[in-house]
Symmetry: C2
Subunit: 240 residues, 2 copies
DNA sequence: GGCCTTAGAGTCAAGGTGACCAAAAAATCC
DNA sequence: GGATTTTTTGGTCACCTTGACTCTAAGGCC
């Protein structure tokens, strides 16, 4: 790929994998999908779902396939986006393995079905998975914390928060996503004003939903816009 | 890296490279560093500098090394950041090569010195390099245009624009960076106000510089902040 | 000095923001 | 049935930022 000095095909055995950080919001907490490793290294430990990129497969395609295999979710419904590549020489004891991490946000997804590849996949509160003692395999702790920060940032500048909400949803559903991921409390009235003024973020269905308590809320669906302009900057009070 | 089904070590011959998109502002135009390829494939064509990642080398280290080899610049002075990974199976005719693209912005760098690896490296106006007829090798056209968009975006939310300016610089130098990369005209007075109000973006040296014409401008150095809060959103008039 | 050029200060109206209040519309409890 | 609670939704208001604009400062050049 370069000019003269580099040998043409340095045959260092190197493998490429994709790893998926799949977030969802459950019980007012951010959860991440993890699998229990069935073999060495790190057998029995938790890890992000992922796997080898196949010989004739694009990186994005590999990520979509893994997402589908591990969770049964059709990734085309979600916005699967590259986070970054991780290539520390010592990150995998088996040898040189470079991984491309992807980030996907989904609505409260069904529990992984037994009998599939994802038999032992579980939703884990992100905070718990990041705790020092939890022991994520490889450098997945680092990847996960990068992904959390990236998700927080994407909420400011894009409409991904809507990916967390199954349609139709209420403005409050959307607000709760922001509050959970940012860890801050937002003023319901001001949040509502901002969301509705941003063209293409949400559009009303005309229906209403009556929850356990309180005035019934108007229902919305996603409006199709991907960018948030102006951005919705975080500056609320940090929740206890 | 995954659970049961995936074979342990799929020995698809796969190589990993880093490619560098190094921008600078010259003559009021964004330039990118390109090299002429000295061998097949794409011999004689232009390409982004880059090369194979060595067996025991981290991705970031490989990018720093290539930057230094190709341009003589100590990359630690710059902010070298990952753009994303590209892994289309057909992107390299030699076989499966996955590349991790990096983005670096530098002040008007010296012309590449002959006799080094970068003997045939040249600064090319980005617009020219992106023209359909220019014929960048591999998928480097795609990488470059992704990098341009990423640079535009980073100018909004980070202080990278200062990387383009050799210290000490004037507020107008900084403004010109924004104008060139965004392709918009900015109001000098309003731009100045925003830059000075953002803590840590620039700090005054107390000196002044008298240019070819006009009132001497106060000189500043970079203030150390990396994030720009609030962001400096682009909304100026598009330049002819 | 007169003129050109660029830097930098200031003004002002429009619009966005956060803090806050109040009404509407349901469920629940007495 | 009425009061209370809860959540949605609409509104106000003071403050700040923004963009457009004007005006002054300070150099070089003729």
């Amino acid at each position: 790929m370069n000019s003269a000095v580099v040998p043409d095909t340095p045959r260092t055995p190197v493998s490429v994998t994709v790893d998926l950080v799949i977030f969802t919001v459950r019980d007012d907490a951010l959860h991440v999908l993890l699998v229990k490793r069935g073999k060495e290294p790190f057998m029995g430990d938790s890890a992000l779902p992922g796997g080898y990129v196949r010989p004739d497969e694009d990186l994005d395609a590999a990520a979509l396939r893994e997402l589908s295999e591990e969770t049964g979710v059709d990734g085309r419904e979600l916005r699967l986006a590259q986070l970054r590549a991780y290539g520390d020489p010592d990150r995998d004891p088996r040898g040189r393995v470079i991984t491309v991490a992807y980030l996907a946000l989904g609505p409260d997804l069904p529990d992984p079905v037994a009998g599939t590849d994802a038999a032992d996949a579980v939703w884990v509160p992100t905070q718990e998975a990041l705790a020092p003692g939890y022991g994520l395999s490889f450098d997945h702790g680092r990847i996960l914390s990068d992904a959390v920060e990236e998700a927080r940032s994407r909420l400011e500048y894009t409409t991904v928060a809507a990916d967390f909400c199954r349609e139709p949803f209420t403005i409050s559903d959307l607000r709760r996503v922001y509050e959970v991921i940012w860890g801050t409390a937002l003023d319901p009235s001001n949040f509502r004003r901002k969301v509705l003024r941003t063209a293409g973020f949400v559009e009303p269905t005309g229906e209403r939903r009556t929850a356990e308590a309180g005035r019934p809320a108007a229902l919305y669906r996603f409006g199709g816009a991907t960018e948030l302009y102006p951005p919705l900057l975080r500056s609320g009070d940090v929740l206890g």
